[in-house]
Amino acid sequence: MGIYILKRVGAAILTMLLIITITFFLMNAIPGSPFLTEKSTPQMIELANQKYGLDKPLIIQLKNYIVSYLKGDLGTSLKMQEGTSVNDILFHQGKFQLSIKLGVAALVLAIAVGIPLGCIAAYRRGTWIDGLLRVVTTVGVAIPTFVLATTLLILLAVKLGWLSTISGSLEDAKSYVMPVISLSFYYMCYIAKLMRTSMLDAINQDYIRTARAKGVKTKWIVLKHALRNSLIPVITYLGPVTAGIITGSFVVESTFAIPGLGKYFVQSVLNRDYPIIMATTAVLSAMVIGMNLVVDIAYKIVDPRISLSAKED
């Protein structure tokens, strides 16, 4: 188990390095200089380049990034909050915390609602409940996040006036409602669909027949025998869900005016603020990769067949 986790962590670090490298080169491939404005002269740009070490060869710059990241230093903003340390921007200004709060709430909602809904649909297969859930979930995975977010915004905030159009820093519970629902709805529906399929698949397995032959109560057959086995595909999906929720946060944060990481990342790309692009990419990727790691380990807990020392395919 220990060796397996070590291996996984190693792979995760490798992936992180790869992402940082890709981001670095992509970022530098963006034509033009971050300091290019209408007023700037070539001399000014050169000076600024010197100041931020952008005149050095790319490889050295990349090395500097990695070295300072290892030290926990994410660099200094070039443009958006010139001169402020990125650590301060992301962590002390609460951007990271906001995104985490939002993401975790959405993830929890998606799982906590999606799994039971999928179970109910499978358990009541063929009934009106199953039919209704199928319609909702099928439509749910066809609605883009931004459409749902704006629709909620118009309905609940503008027309009905129940909620504020600006969720801001998520200070009260009410401000969570719309962002979290819009962020998690797609994944809630997807998980419910996945859960239904995999539950039905599990129910058709031989060991369910054995359990029935033993005289186990139907409720327990579903809750004990079918559920645990059918959770496996859902767990696999949690990695992509995390990535997706982060993606969704780009949209949701701008729709509901939440000053989080997602919104900041998009702005930093448009503004070419290199250190911020690098840092946000690193932080967001770390979240996704970390989740993948958790998923890999969660496997072992749910499915004893997966031997952690061997590579499964």
Partner: protein, 455 residues
């Protein structure tokens, strides 16, 4: 026979009695002919895999309805623009911010003013504003007759009318002379001949006035035309991305699966690495990075290929590149899995043992068996590509105006969402319908092509 029966049975059945009971004769106890035996068995008609799959798909009402709806949307996107007199990029001056089913001011006037005329020519019908009929020679063909005239001043803000019953069939009415109720008394007669001068311009007469079914945007562009165009762009992006993924993924996957061993190991580690990258972060960067180089290439390129690409625009092309770079891994995994599984099958071993060549095995055995997953994954890839495109366009990184995609239309609508919510409604509904129907068709295909999954 009878002896045996007797010796074994204490409550022996009287055979004669039984025969009476069933009304049988000795004749019945003679051997049956082979033909009689064969007639007992009804042979099943054997049907091919595809016929069977199609039969199953047809039985799936939901998927069939989805397929029909999707075809309707495709027709809407590709045939629709021909049927309506507006196009996606023209800005109709008097038509800004119209609600659905409204006519622009000029159209309303024209409608009123032309009540007596057979046909009219108005720049309004085509461009939304009555600017001018240019200086020079023009002719009009109407029901076999030619009306040729020349004007030396250009006609400003007027509608050119043709009323074959009137004394002077060809005349124009100045807009200023048209009253609120559409009546007018001042007309300017146009002299005409029946011979068009050399190089004369044909003016196309029109009787058609068309409402802006989905309304217009703040620049006066017709939203239905834009939605049609956007749907077309989205469908093209989805299909092309899916094809790119299909080609790259299946080639990579089958090489990996067939080669096996060390090659497979390394190729799969690469896949895993790409798989664990949060693509959207990279996609966002790529969008920005690729924009300028692509534009440069379009501007300098003269080949048909770069021309075709430049018609699509940088946004779409960079989305394609993104797909080609990052999104093929799932397909590669599925195909490799299939190949590995099939490689283990006894019939492949049997074919190898019988001396079939590799090419033959791939053609005759592997490909037909991979087709199911290939079709399904490709079909489900389309909506995910459409999703990604709309997401990028929504963030302002996809296609840019006057080009439109469903995502960019939704994004544009947001600026004035509280005033004109329908501007979001139409593109969003079309987008959702495309994704929904494709998902349902994909599900139906899965059920139809892989009967094992359907218990």
């Amino acid at each position: 026979m009878k002896d045996k029966l007797k010796s074994f049975s204490p409550f022996q059945v009287d055979a004669g009695k039984i025969m009476d009971m069933y009304g049988l004769s000795d004749e019945d106890f003679t051997a049956a002919a082979d033909s009689e035996k064969e007639s007992m068995v009804e042979m099943h008609k054997s049907i091919s895999f595809w016929q069977d799959a199609w039969r199953r798909f047809k039985e799936n009402t939901v998927s069939m309805v989805a397929l029909v709806v999707f075809i309707v949307i495709v027709l809407f996107a590709f045939l629709g623009p021909v049927l309506i007199p507006y196009d996606y990029s023209s800005q109709y001056r008097s038509a800004q911010n119209l609600a659905p089913m409204q006519y622009s001011e000029n159209e309303q006037l024209t409608m009123l003013a032309t009540s007596g005329a057979d046909a009219y020519y108005s720049t309004a019908v085509q461009s939304g504003s009555l600017t001018a009929i240019r200086k020079g020679s023009h002719y009009i063909n109407w029901k076999g007759a030619t009306y040729a005239f020349s004007n030396d001043k250009g006609i400003e803000n007027a509608i050119l009318m043709l009323d074959t019953d009137a004394e002077n069939p060809l005349y124009y009415v100045k807009l200023d002379d048209i009253a609120e109720d559409g009546t007018y008394s001042e007309i300017t007669v146009v002299e005409y001949t029946s011979e068009a001068a050399e190089g004369a311009d044909e003016l196309e007469l029109s009787t058609k006035i068309f409402p802006h079914v989905f309304g217009t945007d703040s620049a006066g562009r017709d939203l239905m035309a834009r939605t049609m165009f956007g749907a077309r762009v989205s469908i093209i992006i989805g299909t092309m991305a899916a094809l790119i993924v299909l080609v790259i993924g299946s080639i990579y996957g089958s090489i990996s699966g067939l080669a096996g061993g060390r090659v497979d190991f390394i190729m799969m580690r690469i896949v895993e690495l790409i798989y664990s990258i949060p693509e959207v972060l990279i996609v966002l960067l790529l969008q920005v990075v690729l924009k300028d180089p692509l534009q440069e290439w379009f501007d300098s390129g003269t080949s048909a290929f770069s021309q075709a690409m430049s018609d699509l625009g940088t946004g779409i092309v960079s989305i394609m590149i993104t797909f080609a770079l990052l999104y093929w891994v799932t397909m590669a995994r599925i195909i490799r899995g299939q190949v590995l599984q099939l490689k283990k099958q006894e019939y492949i071993t049997a074919a190898t043992a019988l001396g079939a060549s590799n090419g033959r095995i791939i053609r005759k055995h592997l490909l037909p068996n991979c087709v199911g997953p290939l079709v399904i994954t490709t079909c489900l890839q389309i909506p995910s590509a459409i999703f990604l495109e709309s997401f990028l366009s929504f963030l302002g990184l996809g296609v840019s105006a006057p080009m439109a995609s469903l995502g960019s239309l939704c994004s544009d609508a947001l600026a004035s969402i509280t005033l004109y919510p329908y501007r979001l409604l139409f593109p969003a509904v079309v987008l959702t319908l495309i994704v929904l129907t494709l998902n349902l068709v994909g599900d139906g295909l899965r059920d139809a092509l892989d009967p094992r999954l359907k218990k």
